[in-house]
């Protein structure tokens, strides 16, 4: 005998596209108003003396395609093996074979030291790119004392578009080697109409000693 299963129209409620099914506010009926998964966890990578951390669409459960219009990377306590190094991002259009997409970017930051001797809010032309293919810094001069690290997040918009360049924005906060706090704002675009299908993070030199990078899809 064929197994009979409930279909979408078997329930006593009006179906609503994309909505989850839950109980109503009185807990005495069903309703289709539940929005499940507007921010969806995709993948977490935990560094342990790694040269690079890479997210490649289709590899190791990573989704980085048209499934989501926005992808969010969070960085938690990125700790370098080497003292006073930048933390970089780069992008790939060939599944991670090459991380060398052309980028034009901006970088500005505020910083302040523990001794209260220096404060600044400034643009840093040494950390931006103008049609560069190299790595883009998203944290600067992270210290490698045991308690030093950098955290923050980066959004990548519509990476699968074959019409538009690919915008990204990042806000990071780190403690630099000389005991400064530094709040950096990075933005720009990958100047390509090819789909971005892999993203890689790396320290300027030495390994990523510790830290986690988590990828989310945003509906």
């Amino acid at each position: 005998m064929a197994l009979s299963k409930l279909n979408f129209n078997s329930l006593n409620l009006t179906p609503v596209a994309g909505k989850g099914i839950g109980f109503d506010s009185g807990a005495d009926d069903l309703e289709a108003s539940f929005s499940s998964g507007s921010m969806t966890f995709i993948k977490k990578l935990t560094a342990s003396s790694d040269g690079t951390l890479s997210f490649v669409n289709g590899a190791s459960d990573v989704v980085l395609d048209s499934t989501y219009k926005e992808y969010l990377f969070t960085f938690n306590n990125m700790h370098p093996a080497t003292d006073s190094v930048n933390f970089y991002v780069n992008f790939s259009i060939d599944g991670g074979s090459n991380y060398n997409v052309t980028k034009t970017t901006t970088w500005f930051y505020a910083y302040h030291d523990e001794a209260d001797s220096t404060t600044s809010l400034e643009y840093n032309a040494g950390l931006d790119l103008a049609q560069g293919t190299g790595n883009q810094p998203i944290m600067e001069n992270i210290g490698n004392d045991n308690d030093q690290s950098g955290s923050g997040f980066m959004s990548l918009y519509n990476p699968s578009s074959t019409t538009f360049v690919k915008h990204f924005t990042a806000i990071t906060q780190d403690i630099i080697h000389a005991n400064y706090t530094e709040n950096a704002f990075i933005a720009g675009y990958c100047n390509t109409t090819s789909a971005i299908n892999a993203v890689q993070f790396v320290m300027e030199s030495g390994n990523i000693d510790a830290g986690t990078i988590t990828l989310y899809g945003i509906n």
Partner: protein, 217 residues
């Protein structure tokens, strides 16, 4: 007669662990969806409150290693006094909100009469190994009925006993319009288990502050 109940495999969809049952994009079938990675933990509604606090393990608040990142969202926090700064502090091992902090503060502002607009660092609002409250707005909030401050604060890995605790804040104030950027770290390797919001003087007359956990699994 025994009631017949539906089970996980009663629906015409392939079950996926940890997902919920949803209608598909055409509303003509079932699909499964992952739960949101951003989980509401607690909403506190101010009502002439001198402080609003979130303490791990108290009043259903979770502020520990359960989540690697916590997000506070403040909406329409309205002061009882006229012109106090909105501020935050953290507790690190005692009941006092006095974690040592080093921070940056800068803001953009623009007046309604278009007479002033600026973007500048404000050294009066940052901290250098200070234990006092951290201002998270730059110009004070007036107490006109329609005036308030809103924004968000991200706290990274507060339960770590290895690293300092980074935080990033951005807020939008009123009168003048202001966009305020605060960031820094609690310079401690003791876990942060409580966060407190207040105005520099007077009460938080009204407003809501929500705490979310951002899951990484």
């Amino acid at each position: 007669m025994a009631i017949s109940k539906f089970n996980y495999n009663s629906f015409n969809v392939t079950p996926v662990a940890g997902n919920t049952l949803s209608f598909n994009s055409d509303a003509d079938g079932f699909t499964t969806k992952g739960a949101s990675a951003m989980v509401l933990i607690k909403t506190v509604t101010a009502s002439s409150s001198s402080t609003v606090t979130f303490v791990n393990g108290t009043s259903d608040v979770v502020l520990d290693s359960t989540y690697p990142i916590y997000r506070f969202v403040f909406t329409n926090c309205h002061p009882s006094a006229n012109g106090p700064y909105f501020q935050v502090n953290f507790r690190d091992g005692s009941t006092a909100y006095d974690a040592t902090k080093t921070s940056t503060f800068f803001a953009a502002r623009h007046s309604e009469d278009d007479s002033a607009a600026a973007l500048a660092y404000n050294a009066s609002n940052d901290l250098a190994q200070g234990t006092g409250d951290q201002f998270i707005d730059g110009f004070g909030i007036n107490n006109d009925n329609d005036s308030s401050i809103s924004g968000e604060l991200f706290l990274f890995n507060p339960s770590s006993t290895t690293f300092v605790k980074h935080f990033i804040v951005n807020t939008s104030g009123h009168f003048p319009a202001s966009h305020n950027f605060t960031a820094g770290y609690c310079n401690t390797t003791t876990a942060i288990d409580g966060v407190e919001f207040s105005f520099q003087s007077g009460n938080i007359d009204a407003g809501t502050i929500k705490l979310y956990g951002i899951a990484d699994s």
